[in-house]
Symmetry: C2
Subunit: 148 residues, 2 copies
């Protein structure tokens, strides 16, 4: 498992208020500014996602065994293929983590799973064929046809 | 305010369990592995910090107006000087955020403040004179004499 964070997603109550703070207030330029989600580049190959909390919860799925506290945001680690998602998952439980959402096709058109670290912090392990990082570190997200 | 995340710190219940998960389990190599804190490089110029939750709370200071949920981790944005910390703070309240800990000398030897975004997510705005990023993105932290 490469040691790399690709995406940090905050589950927000009011996306307009968050946009006002980060985009209008701090002056940060979005990579993608949609009515349902905002992505902002915050380092080389790294995006900050602003996503309504209810939708983030729905994407992660049920996790009755942990408090809500650690589920208010997710960290994402991208890998290069579907089988690498499966391989990464094999390391989780022996290391003291747990699998929150088993590996499956993802709404964004790739393949993903959610795991919890020992504190319940959520990591998405994702194969996202539309994720591109240019040599200067700029991320772009190319639409991918979701699989039926 | 440059759009850049430099450090993501998770407040953990048991640092040994977290070390077991990230360092021994996932095989991630620490940049700094101390009994009281672990830093792991997770992208160009980006560290993941594992820090006992109680000490992270103490560093952030009191925040009675928000739930614990958003305070379980902090994001950090480094700036180049003490006056840039002060300048960044001026943008926060007009944008719908709030100041959690006013700008002040920091335990690490620099100068910092904590602010909350509209959901209460904590950002540390820091001038850390010991923070170095090499051209290939590797972060090192040089000890700085705390000011008395």
């Amino acid at each position: 498992v490469q040691q790399r964070l690709d995406l940090l997603t905050l589950g927000v109550r009011d996306l307009q208020a968050s946009r006002r703070f980060y985009v209008e207030g701090l002056g940060w330029e979005p990579t993608l500014d949609l009515p349902e989600i905002v992505f902002i580049q915050v380092n080389h190959g790294l995006l900050l996602g602003l996503f309504p909390a209810k939708e983030l919860e729905a994407d992660v799925g049920e996790r009755p065994e942990v408090s809500d506290a650690a589920a208010r945001f997710t960290l994402a680690h991208n890998v290069g293929s579907q089988s690498e998602v499966d391989e990464a998952l094999e390391r989780v439980e022996p290391s003291g983590g747990s699998i929150v959402k088993p590996a499956q096709p993802a709404a964004f058109g790739g393949y993903h799973a959610y795991v919890a670290d020992p504190d319940g912090f959520r990591w998405e392990i994702a194969y996202n064929p539309g994720w591109r990082v240019s040599p200067d570190g700029r991320v772009s997200i190319v639409p991918v046809q979701p699989r039926s």
